[in-house]
Symmetry: C2
Subunit: 99 residues, 2 copies
Amino acid sequence: MLRMHPQTLRKYERLGLVRPSRTIGSMRLYSRDEIERLRFIKRLVDDMGINLAGVQQLLEVAAVMRRIQPLMHDDHLAPDIVRRRLLREISKLNGLLGL
Amino acid sequence: MLRMHPQTLRKYERLGLVRPSRTIGSMRLYSRDEIERLRFIKRLVDDMGINLAGVQQLLEVAAVMRRIQPLMHDDHLAPDIVRRRLLREISKLNGLLGL
DNA sequence: GTGACTTGATACGGATCGTGTCAATGCCTA
DNA sequence: TAGGCATTGACACGATCCGTATCAAGTCAC
């Protein structure tokens, strides 16, 4: 489906990049979100040549982006609240870059 | 000063990670900003084990962060302007992650 | 129950990255 | 101005990382 080698998926899981659920017999089961996540990882690794350590950081950046996005388009949220949450996410981003 | 091998600095320049100015005799000259940049790169590579390809992306993320930071603390700027510039930076960040 | 697949563990080839070496050039001082 | 030393660029050598192949053992579906 994603043309990924089974061993690659296992290694990604060992590194904590994905977290598939398991069936009773301990077979891996990937949700739609995780498949999308794998697609994202594949782009970073195959097309951009990025390290798995770098992928891990960029995944966290992407997670922050996903939380910021709705904040900016929610029109019935008090500007103060938006501003405060935005500051929190930005400082989180800075922290993970070690700034 | 940063305990980096000269060849490492040359390779980083070939990859476009740093851009030192040159003296008349073509010797490399690093500004304070570039030294800080090198320190940042060193952390990503040595401590986090990140690829140079990943470093390149994270450098761009850091650049966006550096532009966002003053926006959030400038009280003289109209909220509309802040919001618009913020949206631009965020979409830039999304674009560079391929989202 | 039988055949096909998945599981985990280990090993191998290719690519990346830091470092060492080389001759040639540039810089500084006596 | 001549001599000693560092820097320049190019190439090559280990170490490490990553995807993939292989293996026996366990699991699934028919």
